[in-house]
Assembly symmetry: C2
Homo-oligomer: 182 residues x 2
Amino acid sequence: MDFEEKTINRKEIFKGHIFTVAVDDVELPNGLGQSKRELIFHNGGVGVLAITPEDKIILVKQYRKAIEATSIEIPAGKLEVGEAGGEAAAALRELEEETGYTSPKLTLLHDFYSAIGFCNERLRLYMADNLVKVENPRPQDEDEVIELMEVTLAEALDLIASGEICDAKTIMAIQHLQIIRK
Amino acid sequence: MDFEEKTINRKEIFKGHIFTVAVDDVELPNGLGQSKRELIFHNGGVGVLAITPEDKIILVKQYRKAIEATSIEIPAGKLEVGEAGGEAAAALRELEEETGYTSPKLTLLHDFYSAIGFCNERLRLYMADNLVKVENPRPQDEDEVIELMEVTLAEALDLIASGEICDAKTIMAIQHLQIIRK
């Protein structure tokens, strides 16, 4: 079976700092005719399941404008274009900026698309369970207001049940910890 | 601590069939000044972890234009505006259209945002483990070319490891099955 949708025409709608928006006219496979695809292109990002020496998960509370509410998430951030060292370096940068910790070794847990139906944002989810305090950590971004939390796995599961944790990468990270701890 | 980012001005950039794009000027909390937020508004969707009487997971292979590749995912779809019965009805509709099965009972597993940093797409992930074949199922969407697969949990984990399963909702669903089967 042929699956490919060939692009007949691409119209770029918006080029922002975070994402680009386009609408493609596509030729469907198997003689099904044409259709339109609304698309978001994003540079991708990283998230870190960070476990302290006291066996707590480090979480970050912050405001998320898209949902007009605060959300509790694992440390995460966008990839910067051409960032030296790639995704693992970006993960260590975000970890240090947001939590003041670093790690000699990251383990890649999952590499996935967050909203594959219309968006190419690719996230790498890492685990860091050998954290080291940084003496003078890099400061966090100027337009970020965050609050740190350290919780047990049981507390994290409660935060999912209450809806205070409501984002995909954080739920995936906590489920991973559930699986490896069983 | 105050987290809220108040909207000073919203500029709508694009209003499509799948999502709306806006750029907000926001007032940061705690006197941090102003910033811009690029935002995607989406009506939300549903996904279904569907388990056959033979204890197989039903998966759907399809082309995803945003990543220019085929992807293997749980049955899923967008909420239609004002759909009668809400999310559970939408989940049953997608399940029937894509697989020819229905279920007398869905269990809500997770309710989450797929890309919370810039997008308000909210997904409800259900489990259906009591599937019933529909005699004359509703046809699938005309512009969808899909191929059905039925796999064991071990095979699903192999598809994650190989990268053929690479979308967040499907990985979350399979993790959930791992957790309850342990």
